[in-house]
Subunit: 403 residues, 2 copies
Amino acid sequence: MNGSKAKKLSTDSYKGVRDFYPADMAVQEYIFGVWKKAVESFGYEEYGASVLEPADLYRAKSGEEIVNEQTYTFTDRGEREVTLRPEMTPTVARMVAARRRKLTFPLRWYSIPNLFRYEQPQRGRVREHWQLNVDLFGADSIEADVEVISVAYRIMKAFGAADGDFEIRINDRKAVLAGLNGARLSPEQMRAVTRLMDKKDKLPRDAYLAALKEAAGADIDPAFEESEATQAAVRALSAAGISNARFDASIVRGFDYYTGIVFEIYDADPANRRALFGGGRYDDLASLFGGDKIPAVGFGMGDVTMRDFLETHKLMPAPRAPADYYLCVMAPEQAAFAAATADRLRAAGSRVAVDLSFKKVGDQIKSADKRGIPAAVVIGPEEAAGKPLKAKDLKTGAESELP
Amino acid sequence: MNGSKAKKLSTDSYKGVRDFYPADMAVQEYIFGVWKKAVESFGYEEYGASVLEPADLYRAKSGEEIVNEQTYTFTDRGEREVTLRPEMTPTVARMVAARRRKLTFPLRWYSIPNLFRYEQPQRGRVREHWQLNVDLFGADSIEADVEVISVAYRIMKAFGAADGDFEIRINDRKAVLAGLNGARLSPEQMRAVTRLMDKKDKLPRDAYLAALKEAAGADIDPAFEESEATQAAVRALSAAGISNARFDASIVRGFDYYTGIVFEIYDADPANRRALFGGGRYDDLASLFGGDKIPAVGFGMGDVTMRDFLETHKLMPAPRAPADYYLCVMAPEQAAFAAATADRLRAAGSRVAVDLSFKKVGDQIKSADKRGIPAAVVIGPEEAAGKPLKAKDLKTGAESELP
């Protein structure tokens, strides 16, 4: 505001992040609303934390490389190293570990944090995205795995997806690791191999097998047998009416911390067959903070992928109008009456916008129409003097007395 | 997860920010929910943006000093200077300016961003807080000022505050500046004087007058007359049934960008008489981005202050239970039946948590009670075979058939 150095400022946002104008924000709020309602129907409680975390939280888990190359990490003026969280799991493990003696397990927790990754922006890859995180702590049974997968399924259904629109693919990381153990791989080779397996769909078959051979030091084609845990999970899901779940030996997930069941939700559209989101069991993470293991199973689901899925499958609902009624006010003399009328309608639960221009009524009605508001109420001297108010339906032109 | 360098990690959050465990998150969600519903009832639409902004956005408005000393600003790997937003107004002005030719004015916009300030944490001063921002762009009438103040009033009422719990104090910054012009002050002296006036309540009277004298270079005691705009606003508010608004010559607000009406909501509790939040008219801000002025009036309202107010005035509602029903399952054989029952209840709109422990029924009921869940449903072999299900009210012990 220093007038002496008036220089035209750029209206661009920071590179790789999104501005949410009301139409885009409405989509976000729709997605978040469906997420919340679905997970709360299973008794999950919301938690939250700051986007700022001590950088050490990620070093311990991920090693220097990821902290330096893929995260936003900086030093604050108190010489503390701070990271903008790239994922929520370390944060929730930290919070659970901090109060492990006070909390009543099992915990059903969810959150919708924004997450940052320093990478080149491209379609579906932004530097900041939002992600539903759903976790169940303190239960290590198949029933817990099945519940979490059921939550994922119910979310898809709550968005209007049919069973044929998506597929749940399940594997058991314990069985994968046991299988690789049979191939006498070192821990580093196992990590390299599971990471490759996670990218299987993105590589041509030949390239995949060649990379596997290099990583493992021998010809291998991991195609492990279905474990008992996976069979039981698929059976329980089927008993609960979830018939689009199946074993898939190639699912391993990218993160090293998974210790049991892993799963991914796939888009079943042949033109778009890819993993939408996924999760699994990670029983060892909380013990990084000292103390015993805390069994945990959960998943994460991003806003960008969800939006793409809804648009691809034409499941995005029509946008909601910004108000139910638009009050057109003829002259300032009726402003107080209009304000009182608006308050009365609001008290009855309606959303009411008042035109503040005192332009011609026709112009005010056009303004309502342009905003998609379904009904207009004209307020002039007669109405202010007691004439019954009429709501005009802007689609049909029909008039009806105001409730 | 590198097992070879297992080192116990700290469970502390980053300094000066808050972890939101479910009980605290529920308070946040309650406050956000009341905010949203109240502002949407006036036809305001939600927008959003990233917490990351180009540092230049704040330099232009606030000068180097604030950017360097009071904000989180760092350089990214692309050599861009990035700031964690300390307030939302520059962001919304940027967004409005970027689409000034496409948007339908007036705009009624709101957002609930998190904001960062680098300062020493103390009670009520955290490094990250959330703030409702409400703005009306493109209308420069008294009616627009009155609407925005009415929104602030309605929010307080929606939280259950009585008119006697708070007071709306209004002034006209134009009149203040004209008055100071009369005292032949330079622009720098004016800024220094208005900033002092904003701190009036925090200084002893003598110290205040002495500081004013030093800032103005002469004895002054700014006590300006009520302007016509202020009179009209108070009159219109009173006509709309808002009787706790009054002129206060000492209200000037801390930011330099205000150009007209300014207002603050005061806690009327004698033990806690302080400004809760405020706002005003700022017609010049969008022109920083080039192009004509865009009239604007709005306010911001923080989560920490709001929570303090609700607790001081005992207006915080009892926490909501995490579920409506808790299903106690005797054995794994009934797990599928329990899952189906839970789904049925959820489809009817209830929130249902299922116990996964298969412990004694008494222990499962204790677990429900500990979580504050109001009703438990026991599922054993008989229920799975068709016996009608009963919901047990955990407060009264009464049983009733499940809907």
